[in-house]
Amino acid sequence: MVVLAGLSGGCATTGVARQDDPRDPLEGFNRAMFSFNEGFDTVLLKPVAKGYDVVMPLPVKTGVANFFGNIADVFIGVNDLLQGKPGDAVGDAGRFIFNSTFGVLGLFDFASTIGLDKHDEDFGQTMGRWGMGPGPYLVVPVFGPRDMRDAAGLALDIEADPVGHLSDVPVRNSLTAVRFVSIRADLLPADKIIEEAALDKYSYIRDAYLQRRRSQVYDGHPPPEPDDE
């Protein structure tokens, strides 16, 4: 009986003044997780990223971002193969070889200067490319916005990531931390823009995430959506 009352109470609060978005059936859970992530970010991640951004000279920040970008190129290449883009995959292999050698372990993005452009692929996009829909929107602890497809993709991305498989635990943990901070620091300008733009930060970020992933799956050329203008 108490359980029932609790359930109906829960329904009443989530049902108030909120039209149900078919893309986001887990909105109640997601909003809770979203505010948890915001808290985590405010208390820990953002201050560290800000410190990193202020203290590190630009060439160091660029070098760090390039280093992890170079590791990522291997899996971008794998995903290009899985998506049936052998040309891009060859380019990614070339990038990795050039940047690991002439680019000093990936610290310099030498390949971009000779016309080997970076691509943007991951397992979530590969599944999308083969016709899998995004599924419900999901806010993952710490990692933030995903959809069901990309949450599965994220698990594969993490599984395939060489940094996560390093046997030296201190090195692995330091690299993981630096990577997180570097990625977060890159997003600092976007933060301020979102604060400026959003009426409701949760739905602004959700909608931006879903639009962006759709665009990525179609490599920047998504078919137009039905427009009820």
Binding site: A17, R18, Q19, D21, K61, T62, V64, A65, N66, F67, F68, G69, D109, D117, K118, H119, D120, S182, D186, P189, A190, K192, I193, E196, A197, A198, L199, D200, S203, Y204, D207, A208, Q211, R212, R214, S215, Q216, G220, P222, D228, E229
Partner: protein
């Protein structure tokens, strides 16, 4: 001699035509580079004076934007629920919000360089897409795409997509939610509140 004169006249005419009807890519390029130039040189803006950027955007950028179309796009079906007067208020508030967001973005990314992708268009086209990219270390450049429509007053921007995310249609579901809950007037009120809080935080800096 006669030929030379004809060539001269043709050139002159071509120039006049160009000034009246700037092609979409040239328009975006001109505006973006002008604005970034000023932002990079201006000390007040560099130290975070948002008001000055908003003024700058007002003069340089806004004449080339079609805010009514933008608001209509963001409202979707609900646009028709609004009276002409409400539509005007919505457009004014949404315009203020977009201008502040766009100004903020320009300041945050002022040190990056914009690259313009090759632009293709047929002479008869009335809708154009200008693709640009902004470089960033370690990852793929961010794309910034401008949608333009040909109007009687020349080409006008009606949508900007950053990294595939439209700054305009990204508001669609939060606008619809607000209209469902509190009506068109509710949406106008919450836009107004948002703009006021943005202004006061800008003044504090």
């Amino acid at each position: 001699m006669k030929h030379l004169f004809a060539v001269f006249a043709a050139l002159l005419f071509a120039n006049v035509a160009l000034a009246e009807d700037v092609a979409p890519d040239a328009l975006v390029r001109g505006v973006a580079n002008d604005v970034l130039d000023i932002i990079r040189k201006d000390k007040d803006i560099r130290s975070g004076d948002t008001r000055k950027v908003v003024e700058l955007a007002d003069v340089k950028v806004l004449p080339h934007f079609d805010f009514t179309r933008m608001t209509r796009l963001a409202m979707g079906k609900d646009w028709r629920k609004a009276t002409p007067e409400q539509q005007q208020q919505l457009t004014a508030e949404f315009r203020a919000l977009l201008v502040r967001t766009y100004s903020k973005a320009l300041v945050e990314y002022r040190d990056q360089t914009i690259e313009f992708k090759p632009f293709k268009m047929q002479p008869a086209d009335t809708d154009a897409l200008v693709r640009t990219t902004v470089a960033q270390a370690g990852s793929k450049p961010i794309s910034i795409d401008y949608n333009l429509e040909k109007t009687d007053q020349g080409w006008k921007v009606y949508d900007i997509a950053v990294a595939g995310v439209s700054l305009v249609t990204n508001y669609r579901s939060s606008f619809a939610e607000e209209v469902t809950a509190n009506g068109v007037d509710g949406l106008i009120a919450s836009l107004r509140t948002k703009n006021k809080s943005g202004d006061s935080s800008a003044a504090k800096k």
